[in-house]
């Protein structure tokens, strides 16, 4: 045990390990906060679709030789989120699920196409794999990346805290909220913008294909056990941070890919909470 602790301590001397832990915990916190709303609004898949949009945008940014791919990925994903959440609203000509599938596959396809045509890198498959599964990128974070992530996370958490009650009302009963003078449309728009920001940040940690896990697992796990909105929100935030940190630690010690280890930790946590919830209901 002490050997393990010593090994960990020696790893934490490296700045890239500390950066990975900070970014991992912040990303997990943000995605779990919004995950509760997304799951309850039946928008679980939006995270998945948006991550593909972000993938496409990052590919195009790479092709354009932009130094910071956030600059393109963030606005594109925000626009994607607004369009997707609006089309989920019911009055659109193309229904939500179809629109989602359409946008996400075209973003993936075009993104890979652009990368393939323009890339000068000798290891194209490796680059694409990293963007999709986040396998190495979290351990190669620069100080700028960490700061960017910290600022975006702080913004997301601030928005969530300031509008917590409004988000609850709009999620619980949108009609009532709108009828009694809470601008449901504006809050939906705000939510989609924030969700997009979280997705772009989370791409660093787990990559485009595995983001849904960070959004869905904490909320669903918390809902197995807790029954008020506040308790579910707090629990899913803690769950997410613990799972992400555990996943990163294991991946550092065992040399496994970061993203998939974090997702596996989330899945294991979900099973544990499912069991606890089952026992609680039996009693």
């Amino acid at each position: 045990m002490t050997e393990l602790a010593n090994k960990l301590a020696s790893y934490f001397e490296f700045p890239f390990v500390r950066h990975a832990m900070i970014v991992g915990a912040l990303t997990a916190l943000c995605s779990s906060l919004l995950g509760v709303t997304l799951v309850l609004k039946r928008f679980s898949f939006i995270g998945d679709g948006l991550s593909r949009v972000a993938f496409g945008a990052i590919a195009i940014a790479a092709a354009m030789n932009l130094t910071n791919s956030y600059l393109l990925a963030l606005p594109t994903t925000v626009i994607g989120a607004v369009l997707l959440l609006r089309s989920g609203g019911g009055n659109a000509t193309i229904k939500g699920d179809a629109a989602l599938a359409m946008i996400s596959v075209s973003a993936m396809g075009v993104g890979y196409l652009v990368l393939n045509v323009s890339s000068t890198s000798s290891n194209l498959a490796g680059d694409v794999c990293a963007t999709l599964f986040g396998s190495v990128s979290i351990l190669t974070l620069t100080v700028t990346d960490v700061w960017l992530c910290a600022v975006l996370s702080a913004l997301v958490i601030l928005v969530f805290l300031l509008f917590y009650h409004k988000i609850f009302a709009v999620t619980f009963d949108e009609d009532f909220a709108a009828a009694t003078g809470t601008s449901a449309k504006a809050y939906n728009l705000l939510l989609s913008a924030v969700i997009a920001a979280v997705i772009v940040v989370a791409m660093n940690l787990v990559g485009a294909l595995l983001i849904s896990a960070l959004v869905i697992f904490p909320a669903l796990s918390a809902m197995r056990v807790f029954k008020s909105f506040k308790a579910v929100t707090v629990c899913s935030a803690c769950f997410s941070v613990v799972c992400a940190s555990a996943g990163i630690l294991v991946s550092i010690l065992a040399g496994t890919p970061v993203g998939s280890t974090v997702v596996a930790a989330n899945a294991a946590g979900f099973c544990a909470f499912g069991a606890v919830g089952f026992v609680l209901r039996r009693n």
Partner: protein, 232 residues
């Protein structure tokens, strides 16, 4: 003073007219009961009054300084899903949200108001319970308490006693009458014609695609629409 005025209102879904040529006025302090058969467009009318739905034609005017922030609403079914984790207290408090404006948290007065309304609707003991685990009648009371928190000047109720036992229904009517006595305007959809006639000051009877009657309750009892409905 007219709070709500509807002129030649026509409502429908996707080109299909549900009800046409509705004209009526609701004054501050009125108690209006909307009656009519299933599918006559009562709930559609309520959604239009709440501006959740745009009318096909015609106008809805608000007067007397009524803003959306002074409206309470009890929907027939909430859109909330079966597995939504929310305590009764959280649901009731969300009715106070329209008083908050941009303030992020509820004030002490608003919290107290939520507790009072839970007391009034007899659900204080359920405050910490999960909303989704309550019976239909208990959920209805929780939603009424939420509507009471939101109602500043006017409250709209879509079949408030649906799913309640007779004693609970009578309590609900008394509660609404008490609110009305405190100068809150009430607009209620109901199938319970006996209660409508007993409590309401005005009746709007919607028939097949148009209004059959609008006016004072006393006049309604003498009208053809009222007499025929009364026989049913």
């Amino acid at each position: 003073m007219p709070q709500l005025t509807c002129r030649n209102l026509t409502l429908g879904y996707e080109g299909k007219t549900v009800v046409s040529n509705l004209s009526f006025t609701v004054n501050a302090g009125d108690y209006l009961c909307v009656v009519g058969e299933n599918g006559s467009g009562k709930s559609t009318l309520m959604k239009a009054l709440l501006k959740l739905k745009t009318p096909t034609s015609g106008q809805i005017q608000t007067g007397g300084g009524l803003t959306r922030k002074e409206i309470g609403y009890l929907p027939q079914h909430t859109a909330a899903q079966k597995d939504f984790p929310a305590s009764v207290r959280e649901v009731v408090r969300s009715g106070c949200l329209n008083r908050c404006g941009l303030r992020p948290f509820y004030s002490k007065a608003e919290k107290r108001m939520a507790e009072e309304n839970m007391e009034n609707t007899g659900i204080s003991k359920l405050a910490k319970r999960c909303y989704r685990e309550l019976s239909g009648g208990q959920q209805q009371r929780a939603l009424l308490a939420r509507a009471l928190c939101a109602a500043g000047k006017i409250i709209l109720l879509d079949e408030p006693v649906a799913g309640l036992d007779p004693a609970a229904a009578a309590e609900m009517y008394e509660l609404i009458a008490k609110l009305n006595a405190e100068a809150v305007t009430v607009i209620m959809i109901s199938h319970d014609i006996a209660a409508a006639v007993k409590y309401a000051s005005h009746i709007l009877h919607i028939g097949n695609k148009s209004a059959l009657f609008f006016g004072l309750t006393a006049d309604y009892l003498q009208s053809e629409a009222g007499r025929s409905y009364g026989r049913l």
